[in-house]
Symmetry: C2
Subunit: 115 residues, 2 copies
DNA sequence: TAAATACTGAACCATATAGTTCAGTGTATA
DNA sequence: TATACACTGAACTATATGGTTCAGTATTTA
């Protein structure tokens, strides 16, 4: 087994592609939380929640620390800067494309097209 | 088989979690392209490229149209606005957390901690 | 010290992803 | 009309995801 983990953006976008994990980030934005409290809020087993937290940790979006028997989760220092940068840069590409003349022309000849 | 497809953000973040697909978006930002030309550029079989394009289409990031025997891919009108909005809103949460006093305090008592 | 709490790890299940090959179908071109 | 081209679909492989249960271990607390 090779276990190639992918680039940082691969990991963070994958982490954000699940509504539960986006919810966990929401929640941690309101305060740190244990695995148990997160599992309660999202109606999930401890083990299931632990896996979600691990995905967020691998992506650097969350950090955890175990003190005594409680593992506390908080938002990671890494933040969402790299993701925001990629999205902003490419949002411009989308906009630039739609301002192009050929877009208007292709809208005009919208008849008799497949699929 | 139920085939529950997930919310729009689920689909688009998942689509963006692969470097090849992010590359396809880059490329389409420079101009529309056929499946064949994309497959050539990313050194992949036609079938493989078609699957990537389908993932981008399901997410609304790309639209395609077949004319004759060529399927042309272009950036979708949907754009990255919803994604940018989510990221920006949550980026603030990350920043707010780090400005909080308890953060500084917890940095201070950083000794004798697990994992 | 006994019991409850909080987590951890292994194992399992169903489905999705990322890729392939191979065998087509339909379209353009020589 | 024969050939080449562009795509499509089915089938297969390996791995990841999202969830579970069950059986632990370690830490509090009564």
């Amino acid at each position: 087994m090779v276990q190639y983990l992918g680039s940082p953006l691969d990991l963070s976008f994958a982490a954000l592609s699940d509504a539960t994990r986006r919810g966990i980030i929401d929640q941690l934005g309101r305060g740190d939380a244990s695995i148990t409290s997160l599992a309660d809020q999202f109606q999930m087993t401890l083990t299931g929640m632990k896996k979600h937290v691990q995905v967020l940790e691998r992506a650097g979006l969350v950090v955890t620390q175990k003190v005594g028997r409680v593992r506390t989760c908080k938002l990671g220092k890494r933040g969402l800067n790299a993701e925001a940068e990629w999205i902003e840069a490419h949002r411009k590409l989308f906009e630039a494309r739609f301002e192009a003349l050929d877009e208007i022309i292709s809208e005009m000849k919208q008849e008799g097209s497949d699929d």
